[in-house]
Amino acid sequence: MTQPLLRMADLSVELPIGDTKIDIIANTNLELGRGERLGIVGESGSGKSITALAVMGLLPQKMRVRGELIFDGHDLAKMSEETFCKFRGRRMAMIFQEPMTALNPVKPIGAQIAEGRILHLGETRADAEKRARLLLDKVGLPAPRFNLDLYPHQLSGGQRQRVMIATAIACEPDLLIADEPTTALDVTVQAQILDLLNDLIDDTGMTLMLITHDLGVVSEMTNRIAVMYAGRVVETGRTDDVFARMAHPYARGLFAASPHGAGLMPRPAGAGRPRLTAIPGVVPDPFERPPYCTFADRCGFVRDDCRQSMPALDLLSTNEGIEHRAACLHPCESLVRP
C-alpha cells in the first residue's frame, strides 16, 4: 500500500478534568487510503464525531490530541493553528449534521460558498461567485430558482444541506468528512443527498470519511468500515467482510439493533422478521471506563479473561489487501451471511 492519505497512529484525544485527564478517544489506529470510502459507525458517545473533529483540528478548546495524526505526510497533531487554517477547507472539508444551523443566517449562500475559494485560492469575489454558481448547479440547485443571493432561511433543510456540500467541495479537497449528513433530513431527501454525495465522490475521486449510525447508509456508501465503541475502534475491515462476520460482539449487537443489520441475520425459513434486539446497558461513562474490554459488562459472550486485559485490535483475515481486525479475545467465528 502506498502512503495513506490519513493515518492515525495510537491517536488519543484527552480532556483534562481537574487534576486528571480522561481519554475521549483512546489509542486509535486507523488508515485511510486515497480514494477510499471509510464509514465510521457506533452509537452516540462512542467518539465518532470527536475523531472527525480531531482530523479537522476543530476539537473543543480544552481537548488535546496525543499520538500521530498524519495527513498526506504532515502531522496534524503538531501543526500550528496558522498552517492548519491553510489545510482546513482546502485539503479537507467537512459536512455537518444540522443544515438548519450550519449556515450563517445573515449572509447570502453565494458568498458563503465562494468564501473558501477567495481565502485559499486567492480568487476575486467575481471569479469565486462564478464558481459558486457552477457548484450550485452541480449539487442540484439550478438557476434561476436558486440564486447566489438567496439567504439560508429561504431554503429547505435538504436544499441547505446541498449548499453545505457545495461549500465543502468548493476548493476540491482531498478528504471529505461527512458527519451524519442525512440524520436531520426527511427520509425521502436522505436518499437524494446520498446519491448526490455518491456521484460527487465518483466524479472527483475524493476520499470519504462518513460518520453515521445508519448501517444501511454505510453498506451503500463505503467500502471500508470502522466500528467504534467507548472511544476505541473495536472492529474494522472491508464493509462486506464486517457485515458478513460481525466478529466483535458489539458489532453484532449494533447490527442486530438496527433494521438494516437485523435483516442480514440468518433466520429460520418461514419465520417472520425478528424483533430488533437492544444491547443491554449503556456506553460506559468516559470517567468509569474499566481497564479491561470496555464492552465486557454488556457482552452476552463475556468470559473470565475478558475482565483481565484490554484486547488488542487483532488481525482476523485479509481480503483484497484490506485487513479485517477486531478487538476481542473471543471474536464470533460463524459468518452471519456466507
Binding site: 482546513r88 443566517p105 481565502l119
Partner: protein, 316 residues
C-alpha cells in the same frame, strides 16, 4: 417592505400624538404660575389676570391643546414666554450643538462597546475579559456628570487639550466646534458604551457558540476571521436594539451635560425653560425630544431589516 414602513410611520405618528398629550397634561398640573414668575410675586391680581388673558390661559384646556398641537405639525411651536420670540427661532442654533453632540456620543458608545465587547467575548474567561468587564462595570457605575468633572480636570485643566466649557460656534472652523464637543460627548458616551459593551459581549459569546461559526472554521477561516466576518454581524442585531433604547437616556443626559459644560444646546434650553416656568417652550421641546426618540427607533427598525435578511424578505 413598503407596508412595513408605512405601518411603522403610522404608529410613529400615533405615538408622538400620545406623547404630546401626556406632556401637555403634565404641564397643566405642574405647580407655579408663569405669569407670577414674569411679573414677580407681588404683582397686582388685575395685572396677573390681564397677562393670563394675553397668554391665552383663560381658554379651555382642550382648545389650548388643539391650538398648540395644530401649530406643531406645521412647524409653529408657539412663542416662548420668557424670550418672547417664536420657539423655532430658539431651536435653530441650539440644534446645531445638540445634534452633533448626540451623534458623537452615539458613535463613541457604539464604537467603544464593539471594541470592548468583542475583545471580552473573544477572550472569554481569560484575564483580558475580566479586565475589560471590570472597566465596563466601573463605567456603568459612574454618573455622567461626575465623569464630566473628571474629564475637565484631566484633559482641560491639566493637559489643556480641550476647552473646559462653552462652545465657540461653527463659524471659525468645524474643528474648533468639534473640539468643544469632545469632552461632553465622552462624558455622555462612555457610560453608555459600558452598558452596550456588556450587551455586545454576551451577544458575541452566544453567536460564537453557533454551528455556523464551526462551519466557517471548517472552511479554513482563522479564529479572528470567523469572529469578525461571521459572529459580529450576527451579534449586532441585539446590540442595535439597545442603541435605540439608549438614545432616550442620551437625550436626558444632554440636559445635565450641557449644563456642566455650559453648552448652548437644546438640553440647556429645556433646563432653563423649566426653571422659568416657560410652559409652552417646555412642552414643545419635550414633545420634540420624544418625537426624535421615536424617529431614532424607527431608523433602528430599518437597520434591523438590513442586518437580518430574515426580517426584510420572507421565506418562499
Amino acid at each position: 417592505m413598503i407596508s412595513f414602513i408605512s405601518g411603522r410611520l403610522l404608529s410613529l405618528m400615533v405615538t408622538t400624538l400620545v406623547a404630546s398629550i401626556v406632556v401637555f397634561m403634565l404641564m397643566q398640573v405642574l405647580p407655579g404660575d408663569p405669569a407670577l414668575i414674569i411679573l414677580g410675586m407681588n404683582a397686582e391680581p388685575e395685572t396677573v389676570a390681564a397677562l393670563h388673558r394675553q397668554l391665552g390661559f383663560d381658554q379651555p384646556m382642550w382648545l389650548r391643546y388643539l391650538q398648540w398641537i395644530g401649530g406643531f405639525f406645521v412647524g409653529d411651536f408657539g412663542t416662548s414666554i420668557t424670550y418672547s420670540v417664536p420657539i423655532s427661532e430658539l431651536l435653530g442654533p441650539r440644534i446645531m450643538v445638540t445634534v452633533p453632540l448626540a451623534l458623537m456620543s452615539m458613535l463613541i458608545s457604539i464604537f467603544g462597546a464593539i471594541v470592548i465587547g468583542v475583545y471580552a467575548a473573544a477572550n472569554r474567561g481569560k484575564i483580558g475579559d475580566t479586565i475589560a468587564m471590570g472597566i465596563a462595570q466601573i463605567g456603568v457605575a459612574i454618573p455622567n456628570f461626575w465623569l464630566a468633572l473628571l474629564l475637565i480636570l484631566l484633559f482641560a485643566l491639566k493637559l489643556l487639550w480641550f476647552p473646559a466649557s462653552g462652545f465657540s460656534g461653527w463659524d471659525d472652523g468645524i474643528w474648533n466646534g468639534l473640539r468643544s464637543l469632545v469632552l461632553p460627548a465622552l462624558a455622555l458616551g462612555l457610560p453608555l458604551a459600558a452598558i452596550l459593551g456588556r450587551v455586545t459581549r454576551s451577544a458575541v459569546i452566544e453567536t460564537l457558540g453557533e454551528d455556523f461559526i464551526r462551519t466557517a472554521r471548517a472552511k479554513g477561516l482563522s479564529r479572528s476571521a470567523a469572529l469578525w466576518k461571521h459572529a459580529v454581524p450576527n451579534a449586532l442585531i441585539p446590540v442595535v436594539t439597545i442603541v435605540g433604547l439608549q438614545f432616550s437616556f442620551l437625550l436626558a443626559g444632554t440636559i445635565i451635560i450641557e449644563n456642566v459644560f455650559n453648552l448652548p444646546g437644546i438640553g440647556r434650553l429645556v433646563f432653563q425653560a423649566i426653571a422659568q416656568r416657560d410652559l409652552v417652550t417646555v412642552q414643545s421641546l419635550v414633545t420634540l425630544l420624544a418625537a426624535s426618540v421615536i424617529i431614532v427607533n424607527f431608523v433602528v427598525d430599518l437597520v434591523y431589516g438590513y442586518l437580518d435578511p430574515r426580517l426584510s424578505n420572507g421565506g418562499h
